[in-house]
Structures are given as C-alpha cells and as structure tokens.
C-alpha cells in the first residue's frame, strides 16, 4: 500500500516531498562518506596511481626523437629502410639543421643518451656531430659528404635505419628489448646469444619464486597447524615466535643471514666443527641462489603462516573427530577431511608469498650475488645505476602483467572466492 495521497506525492513531516527529503538525507550521508575517504583517495592517487601510471607510460614513450629531430623524421618518412642505400641529401640537410638547433638548445645530449640505449656508441657520435653541425658545417657543400667526413658511421645504413625505426612518438622498442629481441627493418629478431639477459632473469625469478613459495608452504603448514590446534597458552608463545621476525627490520634479518651463511659464518663453522665438512670445502651458502632461497623463505614465511592459521582456526575440531569415528585413521582424517578444508588458506598464503616474492628487491640484492639476482634487481639497476627508465618501465610492466595473468589463472583454477586472508 502506498502512502501517496490522491492529490500529490507523499510529503515528509516538514512538507517537502518524501523522495526529495530522502535524497537529501542520503546525499548528506554520501558526501560525508566521500569526505572521510578523501584524504586517503588523494594520497593513493598522488603517491600510487599517478607514479605507476607515469612510469608505465615511460615504457612506450619516445617523444625525444621526433621532438629533437622534427625535420629529419619528415625527411626519412619516404626513405625505404630496406633498400640498403643511404637516404638522400635532403635527409642529411634536415638532420644537420635539427642537430644545429638541438646543440643550441642543449637537447642533443638527451637524444644521444636515448639512442645509445638502442645502439652503443651513439652518445659520442651525436655529441660530436651536433657540435659540428652547429659550428663547422658549410651550408653550401653537400651535407652527406660533410657528415661522412666527420664520422664515417654516417655512411652506414644501420644508423639511419635506427633513426627511422625510432622516429615515432611512441615505440614498443623498450618492450622488444625487455624480451631480448631487437627491432630491425625486417621486423623483430632475437638479440645475439650473449646479450639475452632479461628473459633468462625473468624465468629465474619465476623459478626461484616458485621454490620459495613451495618451501614456505612446506615449512609453514605444520606451524600453522600447530598454532591452530595447540592450547591457547602454547599457541600464543608460538605465535610470538612467528611474529618476532616480522617485527624486526628486513635489513637486520637479511644481514643476520649473511652472518650465518657466509663461508666463515656460523653454519659453516658448526658443520666443520661437527666434522661434516672439511675446513677447505666450506659450503657456499650466500651470494648465490641458495642464499636468496634460504633468506627469502625465512622472510616471507609469516605471510604463509598467518592466512593458513586464520583458515585453520576456522575449521572446527569435530570434523576430524567425525572422520575418526567413521573409521578413518589419523592420516586419512587429515588428508581427506582437514586438508581439503585448509586449501583456501594455502591459496591465500601461496598467492601472497608468490606476489611478494616475485617483485622482491632488497634481499636478492644483498644476498643473491650474481645467480640469485631477480628481475627487480635489473629494474633497480636501470633506474639507479645505468639510467634507462624506459627499459626499467617495460620490465616492470611485464612483471606486473605476469602477476596479473597468474592471478587470473589462479582465480580460474582455485577460485579467488576460496581465498581467505583472515
């Protein structure tokens, strides 16, 4: 039954239409909710979404070439890069004009660095040529000869092919590079054997991450089981032991493992003292994959234990009792009744550890040596040591996409609804 009267809409107590009054009260509520989350929203946007977006954009951005060499780009548009012949005089003249302007604006160095990512040696070529183009080139002589006289590289078709390839405003060049391929006028080809590093590193990262996740599960499952099934007082003590490393600085834990695992370290000393090892055959446990695996397993263990624990805590003890009363041995009761019910916890723990591990940086950097290096270490190198943000962004984007693909796969197989984090 509606409360609408014959001569109009329902009115609220103060005489305004009820719908309007309801909207007003709800609007006030919504506005208040929005204002309450506004600081967080702004914080996330400014510190998280925007930087990631900007960084991802860098993986395809190539403004510097068309911006610095606008005339050359136009002149090269009609040139057939696969012909094997140098471009015509007009292209050389355009490049001379572009470089002269760039030298005056000091932008030729940036361009040189950008093109150097694609082919080493470009820095000096462009710096030299830029200076010459601005100061010494004679506009009445053919530019082609002047270029070649200055640096014979200008007579090579490859340089021009490179310029044409990277003349667009956006490029997939960084991504191509990140999967160990290179762009040529004939399309994409694999890089020479010795230069293929990123895919191998990506695969190694995935492999190590998988090993770490499985180790965490193997070690974490029994601990979580104990935590969930011990009497309260003992479980609390165990919980503190699990959380204690969690509260310790990551650097401290990593450094502690360095002390423990190095060749003159505690573990080796004990093994030698026990007579298990000869003094001259001490194990190499750090600065390699072994070091990365041991240390990361230890560091990520709580992330496996906590979701497992919370799921196991929710499995009432009467299920196992029921199984036993029905004739199941301890093992059968565990395997057929308890374990299937703990799978959501395994899913949550595994996905958490895997995602954290695949992007881990500090620990592999400190204890990984050369063979325990993760893809994130390459990314960090390209941001900090030998700046190539485009490539770093491309590697990061691939990593991000990979994690998302795995997440979707996982959702298909296990079902994300089955994951319980608490």
């Amino acid at each position: 039954m509606s409360d609408a009267t014959a001569n109009g809409p329902v009115l609220a107590a103060d005489g305004t239409p009820l719908k309007k009054s309801l909207q007003r009260s709800l609007r006030h509520k919504k506005f208040r909710a929005l204002m309450l989350i506004a600081p967080l929203l702004a914080f996330v946007l400014v510190t998280f979404v925007a930087p990631i977006g900007a960084m991802l954009l860098r993986s395809v951005e190539n403004q510097i070439v068309p911006d610095t060499l606008p005339r050359t780009v136009v002149a090269l548009a009609d040139w057939d890069a696969t012909s094997g012949e140098l471009p015509d005089e007009a292209a050389f003249a355009a490049l001379a004009a572009d470089l002269a302007e760039a030298f005056d604006n000091k932008t030729h160095v940036k361009l040189a660095i950008r093109l150097n990512y694609e082919s080493p040696g470009m820095t000096s070529l462009f710096k030299k040529t830029g200076k010459a183009a601005a100061r010494r080139f004679d506009p009445d002589q053919p530019y082609r000869q002047q270029f070649i006289d200055l640096r014979p590289e200008w007579g090579e078709v490859e340089i021009w092919q490179l310029l044409k390839t990277y003349s667009s405003r956006y490029t997939n060049g960084y991504f191509v590079n990140a999967i160990d391929m290179q762009k040529t006028p004939d399309g994409l080809v694999m890089k020479p054997d010795g230069q293929r590093v990123y895919m191998a590193s990506m695969l190694r990262t995935l492999g190590l991450t998988l090993v770490i996740t499985l180790l965490c599960l193997t070690i974490g499952y029994p601990i979580a089981f104990l935590l969930a099934n011990l009497p309260m007082s003992k479980a609390n003590l165990l919980m503190i032991l699990v959380l204690l490393p969690f509260w310790t600085s990551l650097l401290v834990r990593t450094s502690a493992w360095k002390v423990l695992l190095q060749q003159q370290g505690v573990v080796n000393d004990v093994l030698v003292w026990l007579g298990v090892l000869a003094d001259d055959s001490r194990l190499e446990l750090i600065n390699n994959q072994t070091g990365t695996i041991i240390t990361m397993t230890h560091i990520l263990l709580p992330f496996m234990i906590l979701p497992l624990y919370s799921v196991m805590k929710g499995i009432p003890p009467y299920y196992v009792r029921a199984a036993k009363s029905l004739g199941a041995t301890n093992w059968t009761a565990f395997w057929r009744v308890y374990f299937p019910q703990s799978i959501p916890g395994i899913g949550a723990g595994a996905i958490l550890v895997f995602i954290l591990s695949v992007g881990y940086y500090i620990t592999p950097e400190l204890v990984g040596g050369r063979s325990g290096k993760f893809i994130s270490n390459w990314i960090a190198d390209f941001v900090l040591k030998s700046p190539n943000w485009g490539l770093a962004a491309a590697l990061g984007a691939i990593l991000l996409a990979l994690v998302m693909v795995l997440y979707v796969l996982y959702d298909k197989i296990v079902g994300i609804d089955n994951v319980k984090l608490g």
Partner: protein, 363 residues
C-alpha cells in the same frame, strides 16, 4: 529391556573417573552397564559430565581411572577409528567439501568396501532416512532437519553395533525435534542397534529411552526406565530435575516400616513414603508431584492451601498455593468436565495427598 545381572553388558563403565586438569574430577566413579540393543540416555544439566562420558566411550577422551568395556573387552587403549562406533555430533559434522553421497561413502571407503556394494549401502542408508534423492547435494544446501537425517544415516551406514548421539536434536526447532525423536526411536527399534544418547532435554530422554541415566556433579544420580524416574525418584535432585515437583522441607519424627511420620516446616504433620531419608530427627525433602494433590480431604495428608495464582493452560489449570509456609506449592487441576472445582485467587481450599505419592528423600 533393562539389564539383569545374568546378561553380559555390551557397554560397561567400571569405576571410571575423568579429570582434565588434575584438580577437579569431571566424572566421579561412574558405573554403568548397557545391554545390547538398549537405548540409554545420559541426561543432566550442562557440566554434569555426560558429554565427557560419551567422548570417553567414543575414544576422544581418555579415562583418568577405571575401565570402559565394549562387548567385554577393555577399549581404553583402542584408538577411536578402530572402535567401530557410529557417532552423531551436535553440529552434525557433515564434511562441507563432500556431497551427501560422498559423506556417506566415506566410512565405507576407509573400510575398503567395493564400489558397487558401497553405492548400494549408501542408497539403503539414504532411503532409510527418506533422503534418497539428495545424494548429489552438498550439506550446505540442506535444511537443518535434512542435515540431521544425513548425519544419522552416516553414523549408521557402516552398520555399527553401537551408536552414540551427542545432543543431535539441539539445533532443531521444537516441532522438528519432536518428529525426529520418533524417527530415531523407530530406527532404533528397526535396526536393533545399541544407542547411547546424550541430552539435557528431559522430555527427549523420557520419550526415546529404555533407560535414563540422570547425571549431576559427575555422578549418575539415578539410572532407571522413564516411568520409574518420574514416579519413583530416588533423590531430591532427580525429583527436581525430572518433571514438575513440589518440594517440602521436613523433619523425620517416626519410622513405621515403609513410611515415615514427618513434621513439615510451617507446622503441618504428615506421612510420607520412606525412600532415602535417615533416622528419626534427621532432615528430609518431601517430593510430591503437582497432579497427585487432590482438592478435598480424601487423602491421608490433609491441610488447607491459600490460592495465590492461577494459570490457565488449556488441558489443566496450574494453581500456585501457600501451603504450610511454602508459597511455591503447585497443584495441577485437570480441566475435566463441568464438575471440577473452580478456584478463585485468594480463597482457602482443602487439599490432601496420599502417603505413597509423597516421597521422603535426602535433605
């Protein structure tokens, strides 16, 4: 089907004690014999030790002292899965990740029963509880009553000789509970299995059981068939716990064979059946069922009562009176044909009762 001494007990508790913390005995000196095919209910308030006894029988708790025998053999050291006892849990404990069929199949699989026979046994068990078409469902898709039936079927599917039930009907609504009581009782009669049933609901216990063991404070207060329990309680606790009961405090003044003369607090003198009281001069609790009180002076114990409160309950009228200083004295007046007495609040009326209906119990 009470146990006579010549039969060998199928289940026997022999001086069993249980303590969890080494300080308090939860079960104190339990002795109980259950015959094959018998339906015995352990009834008692929370914390009386009845569930602990059931768990010891199932093997989930170990007895601190004493022996539990199954078919003459001590089972203290046999793990639960080898005892072959079916069990229905309070929350049913149906495995949520298995279908109903898989739940029932589970006890047969762990016993290595072949697939075709297994399927047949599962279907038989489901038909037995009228749930034949639900084999493919998950427990979460069933109502409480249906889950209850499945739990029952699962406890019976591997044909155990002994089935334990731990308050299995506690989560059901009243109507369904009463219906299930009859179903369980009929299943028991049909299959002839021995059932040990735990509940705190006395009507459930009285409805279903051959014998009821009333637990309190870690001891069996009385072990008797339902009618004995109601009509011949042996101590004040049982009299209070089972059914409604008028309690009169009194002192014994004389013993005459089967009866005793008592001075009821408040000045009345009376005669009661000697059941569980000490000698002359000792305190006793008189137990008198409300429906055994007459509203005239035809009984041997005669007095007056002042009507304090009347509650109309359809088939009878519940009347609270002040009798001999006890103002919580209840009389049930049957709502029979027109000739019964119509009481009015405030009036004083004659009441009386027979000596045999009034039991002198421990103080």
């Amino acid at each position: 089907m009470a146990l006579d001494s010549s039969q060998q007990a199928f289940v026997a508790f022999d001086r069993v004690q249980k303590s969890y913390d080494g300080e308090i005995l939860v079960v104190k000196d339990l002795n109980l014999q259950i015959a094959k095919g018998e339906f015995v209910t352990m009834l008692g308030p929370s914390g009386s030790g009845k569930t602990t006894c059931l768990m010891m029988l199932a093997g989930f708790e170990t007895a601190t002292h004493g022996d539990i025998l199954l078919d003459g053999k001590p089972i203290n050291n046999i793990p639960p899965h080898k005892r072959g006892i079916g069990m229905v849990f309070q929350n049913y404990a149906l495995f949520p990740h298995m279908t109903v069929g898989e739940n029932l199949s589970f006890p047969l699989e762990v016993r290595n029963i072949g697939k075709s026979e297994r399927e047949k046994m599962v279907m038989d068990a489901l038909d037995m509880v009228q749930m034949g078409e639900f084999a493919g469902r998950r427990p979460a898709q069933l109502s409480g009553g249906q889950q209850q039936r499945i739990a029952l079927a699962r406890a019976l599917v591997f044909r155990p000789e002994l089935v334990l039930m731990d308050e299995p009907l506690g989560a059901l609504d009243k109507q369904l509970r009463e219906h299930m009581q009859f179903e369980i009782k009929h299943l028991h009669e049909k299959l002839g299995v021995t059932v040990v049933y735990v509940t705190h609901d006395q009507s459930e216990a009285l409805t279903m059981s051959d014998r009821v063991a009333v637990f309190d404070d870690g001891r069996i207060q009385q072990l008797a068939p339902p009618d004995d329990l109601y009509e011949r309680p042996e101590n004040a606790f049982v009299a209070q716990f089972i059914g409604e009961n008028n309690t009169l405090n009194a002192t014994v003044t004389a013993i005459n064979g089967d009866t005793v003369d008592v001075d009821i607090d408040g000045g009345m003198k009376g005669t009661a059946l000697k059941v569980n009281c000490d000698g002359v001069g000792s305190r006793t609790t008189l137990s008198l069922r409300p429906e055994r009180v007459r509203l005239d002076h035809s009984g041997v114990n005669r007095t007056e009562g002042k009507v304090l409160e009347l509650i109309y309950l359809g088939d009878h009228i519940r009347c609270r009176m002040a009798v001999s200083g006890h103002d919580d004295f209840i009389v049930k007046v049957p709502n029979a044909g027109g000739d019964h007495k119509h009481l009015v609040v405030g009036e004083t009326t004659q009441i009386s009762w027979e000596a045999v209906d009034c039991r002198a119990l421990d103080a």
